[in-house]
């Protein structure tokens, strides 16, 4: 993990959503990079080197889980933790999913997201 501000990468095909979260997270002291094309996510990550990836589940072309599998298969990004965002789960289903990844329901509770990011950074 970087000793400077923690780096968060946002992957969501909804650019307005990316912008909103970027603003909210930057105000909380994170360095944020956004990627609205799931297919480019790995490439962007290899350049940006995020500490945490916050990734939408349902995206055109490639699902969030596919993106994660790509990251897992690559040496550099293998251990980068993922937090998933979904518009198909409800609040009470937030938290650790069956495969042990953190999941947040849209609309996003920014305080909860920050808490999840911090958790990921700690266990990094």
């Amino acid at each position: 993990m970087s000793t400077l501000s923690p780096k968060v990468m946002l992957v969501d095909d909804d650019e307005l959503h990316n912008e909103m979260l970027k603003t909210a997270l930057e105000r909380r002291g994170f360095v944020v990079c956004t990627e609205s094309n799931a297919t480019n996510a790995l490439k962007t990550a290899l350049g940006f080197k995020p500490d945490v990836v916050v990734c939408d589940i349902a995206m055109p072309g490639k699902s969030g889980r596919n993106v994660m599998q790509e990251f897992k298969a690559h040496r550099t990004t293998r251990d980068t933790p993922f937090i998933f965002l979904s518009s198909l789960v409800v609040k009470r289903e937030e938290g650790k999913s069956a495969d042990q990844h953190l999941m947040l329901a849209k609309p996003i509770d920014i305080i909860q997201l920050e808490q999840y990011i911090r958790e990921c950074l700690k266990s990094d």
């Binding site: 959503h17 909103m20 979260l21 603003t23 198909l88 609040k91 009470r92 849209k106 609309p107 996003i108």
Partner: protein, 377 residues
């Protein structure tokens, strides 16, 4: 009273007559042909099965007493074949022969006719069973089509939910960003506007969640996270959350005093009460009041959300918790609830072993209530 055979009877797969005595067959065949039916003939059980396989008929007239393979056996084999089992079979036997009627029905026959034939009787039975068969076929097709539409609807609901939640998340998030960073710079009035917008966007998110939850509960895919929780504390949280949207309405709790502990899913209970309070707020005039009462009563606790809104006509009270119950009111330009909130409440309360209901009088107000068992479930 004789009705001619329909076009479908003439052009369709027709009737298969199975009898080892050619004279009998001819008599029956001529009789039905005269009435316009399309007829095929098989002189043994073996051939009948073959003929049915090659071109399934819409009905089979089957002689009971045949050498080699008798009618019961033929029928048994037809019923064992998924492709042929739906074809109605009417047994035929001569008056002097012994026919085991119980056995005839037992192996899957739908009816029987005894020789000598009476034209009218034969035709009446044939017509009845052809019609039944046609209707059953149609019913099955409609059912399949309905299931298809139902699946389509569920997929559509999921798509809509997904499409609504993204922009909602953007609205909610951006309001939060402004409130967080500019709170001090904002005029109090403007801050209030933003807080209201934020609270309303949360209600909207709740409404959408209810649709998802109802879908899941229907599919039996929602599990309760049971634990001990204090109903009074849960209700207090709901009321605190409703502060921003209550306007001038008076919103208060009448609790008996101390905590009321139940074994329940606290999140779900929160949302049940929230739905009832939100609903009451929406249907109560700007200067109205809402009372939330929590009353332990023997082995259960009674929770009521009362308002002095316009009330609900009796006709709608029973259907208001139904998934599409509100549609009826909506068609008459009347609304007594929003979204699937109350449907969610009913399913959630019943999942906890409780009951839900409404008491209401037009012009006086409504009381939505639910009971939960006090002892563990």
């Amino acid at each position: 009273m004789r009705k001619p055979a329909t076009e479908a009877d003439q052009e369709g797969p027709g009737i298969l007559i199975v009898d080892d005595a050619p004279a009998n067959v001819r008599l029956l065949a001529d009789m039905l042909k005269d009435r316009g039916y399309k007829i095929r003939v098989a002189l043994s059980g073996e051939r009948a099965l073959q003929a049915a396989h090659n071109h399934p008929p819409s009905l089979i007239l089957l002689d009971v007493n045949m050498p080699e393979m008798n009618g019961y056996e033929v029928c048994g084999q037809l019923k064992a074949d998924a492709e042929l089992r739906d074809i109605p079979v009417i047994f035929i036997s001569a008056m002097h022969e012994t026919m085991d009627k119980v056995k005839a029905f037992g192996v899957g026959g739908v009816d029987y006719i005894t020789k000598p034939f009476q034209v009218e009787e034969v035709e009446a039975r044939v017509r009845t069973h052809l019609e039944l068969h046609r209707q059953r076929h149609e019913l099955r097709r409609s059912y399949a089509r309905l299931r298809e539409l139902e699946n389509l609807r569920d997929t559509l609901v999921h798509m809509i939910i997904h499409d609504l939640r993204n922009p909602l998340s953007v609205i909610h998030g951006n309001l939060g960003v402004v409130l967080e960073s500019e709170a001090l710079a904002l005029a109090p009035k403007n801050r209030k506007f933003l807080e209201t917008a934020l609270a309303v966007s949360s209600s909207l998110a709740e409404m959408i969640s209810s649709i998802l939850d109802v879908n899941r509960m229907e599919a039996g895919a929602m599990k309760l996270n049971l634990g001990r929780c204090d109903l009074v504390a849960v209700a207090a949280r709901v009321l605190a959350g409703a502060e921003a949207i209550r306007g001038r309405r008076n919103l208060a709790m009448e609790a008996s005093g101390g905590p009321v502990e139940v074994v329940a899913d606290a999140d779900i209970l929160f949302r049940v009460i929230q739905n009832l309070v939100d609903n009451a707020l929406k249907f109560t005039p700007a200067d109205g009041w809402i009372r939330l009462a929590i009353t332990p009563d023997g082995d259960h606790v009674h929770v009521a959300v009362k308002d002095n809104g316009p009330g609900i006509p009796e006709a709608y009270q029973r259907m208001i918790f139904d998934k599409f119950g509100q549609v009826a009111g909506f068609e008459h330009q009347q609304k007594y609830a929003t979204g699937l909130g109350l449907t969610f409440c009913k399913m959630a309360v019943e999942a906890h072993g409780g009951r839900i209901g409404v008491e209401s009088r037009e012009g006086l107000g409504s009381s939505f209530w639910f009971d939960l068992p006090l002892k563990g479930m």
